[in-house]
């Protein structure tokens, strides 16, 4: 059995001595300066000075015998002088080992390439307009999730992938909005109290996302502005979906299922075919 590579053992420096008066004075006696002692103990040089002398390094007078000076911590303050604890992920070699494990299984990368069939529009053909819109929303959410999964500071490949998903999202959204205009908003205007205003608000949100998508489409895939714009787009989309969720719930409660069916299908496919 091959012996696995030995990770760098945790040696001196991994642990630091406690910043007590004894340890600071010992080091002072050994001729080390306060900045050096601060580095040794993992604390600020001024704190080392305060620990050793009891005098604040800023020159202010020492606190007298008040029982509770301002800023006093009732549970004690030793944790403030303790050196920082090392995290286990700081073990040298860990990140490399994980990468090697992933690389040893090329099937993982291959499986990741076979993209899920997200973003195939035209699933919202249910008779019930509410069900149809929710199905469309599900597809949009999957695209949003896919967009979120692309690492922000990734490779050129990631940037291309992000651009491609954004493009698919844009196509999907325009088809979806056309379909909504066709069926959903008329139903809302007729069936839901204050429906006109709701539809207006949704239109305004759609214009916003449309504007952002348009700006994104004009940027090259590698552009540095894309990340911020994409975040803005995702926020706007989430707000829009949340708003439409509340509209759908109101519609569901205001209009009986039978009636919703007579409104007919969303006609997403039809709307796309028309274009």
């Amino acid at each position: 059995m091959p012996r696995p590579a030995r990770m760098g053992a945790t040696g001196p420096g991994y642990y630091r001595a406690v910043a007590s008066r004894v340890t600071v004075l010992e080091r002072l006696t050994a001729g080390r300066s306060y900045p050096q002692i601060g580095r040794d103990l993992g604390i600020a040089p001024g704190l080392a000075y305060l620990v050793a002398t009891g005098l604040p390094a800023d020159g202010s007078p020492p606190i007298g015998h008040q029982p509770t000076p301002m800023g006093w911590l009732p549970q004690g303050g030793t944790h403030l002088a303790n050196p920082p604890a090392a995290g286990p992920t700081e073990e040298p070699g860990l990140v490399g080992w994980v990468a090697a494990r992933a690389a040893a299984d090329p099937a993982m990368a291959a499986a990741g390439q076979g993209e899920e069939p997200a973003g195939v529009p035209g699933v919202g053909d249910d008779d019930d307009v509410v069900v149809a819109v929710r199905t469309e929303h599900h597809a949009i959410r999957r695209l949003v999730a896919e967009l979120c999964r692309v690492p922000a500071r990734g490779s050129h490949q990631d940037a291309l992938r992000r651009a491609s998903v954004t493009k698919r999202l844009g196509q999907h959204l325009s088809a979806h909005e056309a379909a909504e205009d066709h069926r959903l908003w008329p139903a809302v205007r007729d069936g839901v109290p204050n429906g006109q205003a709701l539809a207006r608000h949704a239109r305004w949100q759609e214009r916003q996302t449309g504007e952002l998508l348009h700006r994104l489409s004009r940027l090259p895939a590698d552009s540095s502005q894309r990340l911020a714009l994409t975040d803005e787009l995702l926020d706007a989309l989430r707000a829009h979906l949340a708003f439409e969720d509340s509209v759908l719930l109101a519609l569901e409660q205001a209009v009986a299922p039978q009636q919703r069916r007579t409104i007919g299908s969303l006609g997403g496919r039809r709307a796309r075919d028309d274009r």
Partner: protein, 853 residues
């Protein structure tokens, strides 16, 4: 002091005398008069002895952050080390769980390490003998590997009596104490499963929680108890068994909360309680069922919360309301996720109405009769809880699993969570259900070194892979293969788990009931791991089972009493492996409130003592070596395991000081706990550590050994090692460690807001929907997709899709399950009494001493 003090400058007059008699210099009166400290409240009155005192920490060379292993409260420790020895152990004042406090057992950790009775070499006791022989650690491990493999071959089973393929080794059981680190538990699970040790069919309190809320863990957190308006402590003397947890009960009471204590005896906890309800031992669950019945009968339940967040409205088509549910025989049965709903709750077949029918027999009179409690107290009990449960107020329930808790802990948990769901208390600040484990051994006199760390009993059980394997991930379900199950098998078997073999689906043994009992019946063997956390009590069935065994591998800091007792002709062969104390190795501890806390190694392991992680890894290596080249189909999963962890020192590793004070090779080298944790956290194809279980995929492009902890290492930063100062933590202690799943301190916290996303009241605000930002915001990590609007309803026919009111996303239907145990066993005891009848000493999986698998 009759003479008048002399006038003038005292110091000058007295100087010659002071010089001759140095003690006069420290005479407080003279010092006062000298003007050093005229009021006599400071330096003047300090004695010579006091001036010479120095804190033990002053000479410490390093301070190591650690976590107390004794019970599952998870108190923070600061271990001071000098010259390779622990010189002082004290509570970490920054810990949000303990706030610097320690119970006597925790404070005695330093003594435990130096206990003269501690076992630090491997030992062997042949079958039928009572003589221990010290053996070389490597030889002991070789012997253990041989015994495991021999028993495995002898008791291998491809199919059970009904012909169902099970591929398991019925003669083997792996048991773990609850002080075991997450990494060791995970690795033991991996090895045992590959060997064919069947996962247990869970019936314990945590399995009930997994069944009712979707996660096998407490719903709340300890610091959150302080926000409760009423705290019900069921079946445990919390003040004695978990004194540090009791501080939160005391704090809530100081702020005006009512405390109710349900226990056979008047104890220290009852002394602090407003109401003490004495019940017969083992009938606490009956009292809670009675409360469920009364709350339903008096229409005191919270309708809006119940309709939105529980399965109350689901219609169970099967007309036979007595059909037992899958887990633990609960009624009413769990409806399928796509069951029809009647939100008026008028239908007789709805879960709520069926529950009403199931508890109809639990009238106050019947409860009073069975519990041996006056009817007036039964009435007061449920009324106190109901009065403190509303939009403005919340009640929390606390109970304990294991010997310190009620014998009927699983039934208590089921009834309590149902009561809490009905009253709308789950997911809200100061609400929910907290299940502590173990026992801090508080009654042990301070200063007596414990030869066994007796406290740790019940594992803070993560939904270990076992929960995923049977049925749910075994094959493609209606929603296709479970991404969590596929990712798990990718983590265990790497490239060997691929689409061609359904990602190693067949390599997983099918679940078993009580694996420990079955192994004993088959004359097999147990491997008991636990850093010394082995059952202290034994007795009854346990002792019989031990005597029926062929061999026993015990990893502990001492010989457990039940092993010592199993001598004579029928005694099994015992291989004892010396265990490290948790301050001698690094790893991640899991507390009862699901908090993962990293602990560092403070000192080198004593003698040959090794951690459970090290032992498991070595055992695996030896077993794989013995099986190398085997063409047997049964050995495939063992040989295909990914077992190549980078190696690091078990202890802190030699520092310059160690080299000076303890020359020689100090390093016991073992698998890196950080690497094992990384495997549990999971990674994607590019080797990036995953940020959360939502990133898991069923196509084999992600590997993740334990979905519940997925995200603890997100971005390569170990969140379990976070230890910020108290001022950076907030009320729930967020920022300290990491709580599974997804760092949520309160599970189901979607339910802290009403169905429209507004807080039930300002006083109980936790999470709420922010219209502007279209996000869930609040003091906790939302236990729902943060962008899922309250009004969101999923498209029909999308498996696993969640609505904006699904507060328990890991339940099949997203709703809390309302149920009570089908038929609680009738009690025959004459009157309330302490102590437990011998028949209730539990040995089964996750019910008592240890978790079996």
């Amino acid at each position: 002091m009759t003479r008048r003090p002399p006038r003038g400058p005292v110091a000058r007059v007295r100087r010659p005398l002071v010089a001759q008699l140095p003690f006069l210099r420290h005479w407080s009166l003279l010092q006062q008069l000298a003007g050093v400290d005229r009021p006599g409240r400071g330096a003047a009155v300090q004695s010579l002895r006091t001036t010479r005192l120095a804190p033990r920490t002053a000479t410490a060379e390093r301070v190591v952050p650690s976590v107390c292993p004794h019970c599952t409260v998870g108190c923070g420790l600061q271990v001071h080390v000098a010259r390779g020895q622990v010189v002082n152990v004290e509570g970490d004042p920054a810990s949000p769980l303990s706030r610097g406090r320690l119970c006597p057992a925790g404070a005695a950790i330093g003594r435990h390490l130096a206990d003269p009775g501690r076992v630090t070499t491997a030992m062997h006791r042949p079958a039928g003998s009572d003589q221990w022989q010290p053996v070389d650690l490597g030889a002991a491990l070789d012997l253990a590997a041989e015994r495991v493999l021999a028993t495995r071959r002898r008791t291998w089973q491809w199919a059970d009596a009904s012909g169902r393929r099970v591929r398991r080794a019925v003669g083997l059981a792996w048991l773990a104490g609850d002080g075991l680190d997450l990494e060791a538990r995970y690795l033991a699970d991996k090895l045992a499963t590959a060997l064919g040790v069947a996962p247990p069919a869970g019936t314990g309190p945590l399995a009930v929680l997994a069944d009712t809320t979707g996660r096998g863990g407490s719903t709340g957190s300890l610091p959150d108890l302080a926000a409760a308006d009423c705290i019900v402590v069921v079946g445990a003397d919390l003040a004695a068994s978990h004194p540090v947890a009791m501080q939160w009960v005391a704090e809530a009471r100081a702020a005006g909360a009512s405390v109710v204590h349900v226990h056979p005896d008047v104890t220290a906890t009852s002394a602090l309680a407003d109401v003490h309800v004495p019940v017969r031992s083992g009938t606490a669950s009956v009292l809670l069922r009675g409360a469920v019945a009364a709350v339903l009968a008096h229409e005191q339940w919270q309708r809006r919360a119940v309709v939105a967040y529980t399965g109350a409205a689901a219609v169970v088509d099967d007309d036979d309301g007595t059909v037992l549910g899958a887990a633990g025989g609960a009624v009413p049965p769990d409806p399928p996720p796509d069951a029809a709903r009647d939100e008026t709750l008028g239908d007789r077949r709805t879960v709520l109405q069926r529950l009403r029918a199931a508890v109809a027999v639990d009238t106050p009179a019947a409860v009073a009769d069975r519990c041996g409690t006056p009817e007036a107290l039964v009435e007061l009990f449920w009324r106190t809880i109901a009065d403190h449960s509303s939009g403005e107020r919340t009640t929390a329930v606390v109970t304990v699993a294991g010997p310190a808790g009620p014998p009927d802990a699983a039934d208590v948990v089921r009834a309590a969570i149902t009561l809490q769901l009905l009253l709308g208390n789950v997911g809200r600040p100061g609400g929910g259900l907290l299940v502590l484990h173990g026992d801090a051994d508080a009654p042990a006199p301070v200063g007596v070194p414990r030869t066994t760390s007796a406290g740790k009993q019940q594992p803070a059980r993560l939904p270990v892979p076992a929960d995923l394997l049977p049925g749910r991930g075994g094959g493609p379900g209606p929603a296709g293969p479970d991404p969590r199950a596929v990712s798990l098998r990718k983590a265990w078997w790497g490239a060997a788990a691929n689409p061609a073999n359904a990602f190693g689906d067949d390599w997983v043994p099918r679940p078993d009931g009580d694996a420990a009992a079955r192994a004993a019946a088959a004359g097999g063997g147990w491997v008991v791991l636990g850093d010394g956390a082995v059952p202290v009590t034994g007795g009854g069935d346990w002792d019989r089972q031990v005597r029926a065994l062929d061999f026993l591998v015990v990893h502990g800091t001492a010989v457990p009493p039940w092993v010592e007792a199993a001598t004579g002709a029928s005694g099994p062969e015992v291989i004892l492996l010396p265990a490290t104390h948790p301050v001698e190795h690094r790893g991640t501890s899991v507390s009862a409130d699901r908090l993962l806390q990293h602990h560092e190694a403070a000192v080198e392991p004593a003698g040959d003592a090794r951690s459970a992680l090290w032992v498991t890894h070595q055992l695996g290596q030896r077993i794989r070596h013995l099986l190398a080249g085997s063409a047997d189909e049964a050995d495939e999963p063992v040989l295909a395991l990914t077992w190549d962890y980078p190696e690091v020192a078990e202890g802190p590793g030699p520092t310059d000081d160690d080299r000076r004070h303890r020359p020689g090779d100090l390093q016991a080298v073992g698998p890196s706990a950080a690497a094992v944790l990384a495997e549990a956290n999971g990674w994607d194809a590019t080797g990036r550590l995953l940020a959360g279980p939502e990133q898991l995929r069923a196509d084999g492009s992600t590997a993740c050994g334990l979905w519940a902890v997925c995200g603890v290492l997100a971005g390569g930063h170990d969140r379990a090692a976070r230890r910020p100062a108290p001022d950076g933590q907030g009320r729930l202690g967020r920022g300290w460690g990491w709580a599974w799943p997804g760092d949520r301190r309160v599970l189901g916290n979607r339910a802290s807001a009403d169905p429209e996303g507004r807080p039930w009241s300002e006083r109980t605000r936790l999470m709420s929907w922010d219209e502007e930002r279209a996000r869930w915001v609040g003091d906790d990590e939302p236990d729902i997709d943060p962008s899922l609007a309250p009004a969101h309803r999923p498209a029909p026919g999308v498996p696993g899709a969640r609505s904006g009111i699904d507060a328990f996303p890991d339940r099949p239907d997203g709703k809390g399950r309302l149920a009570v145990t089908a038929q609680p066993a009738p009690t025959t005891q004459p009157a309330p009494t302490a102590g437990r009848p011998p028949s209730q000493v539990e040995t089964s999986a996750s019910a008592g001493g240890v978790e079996a698998r």
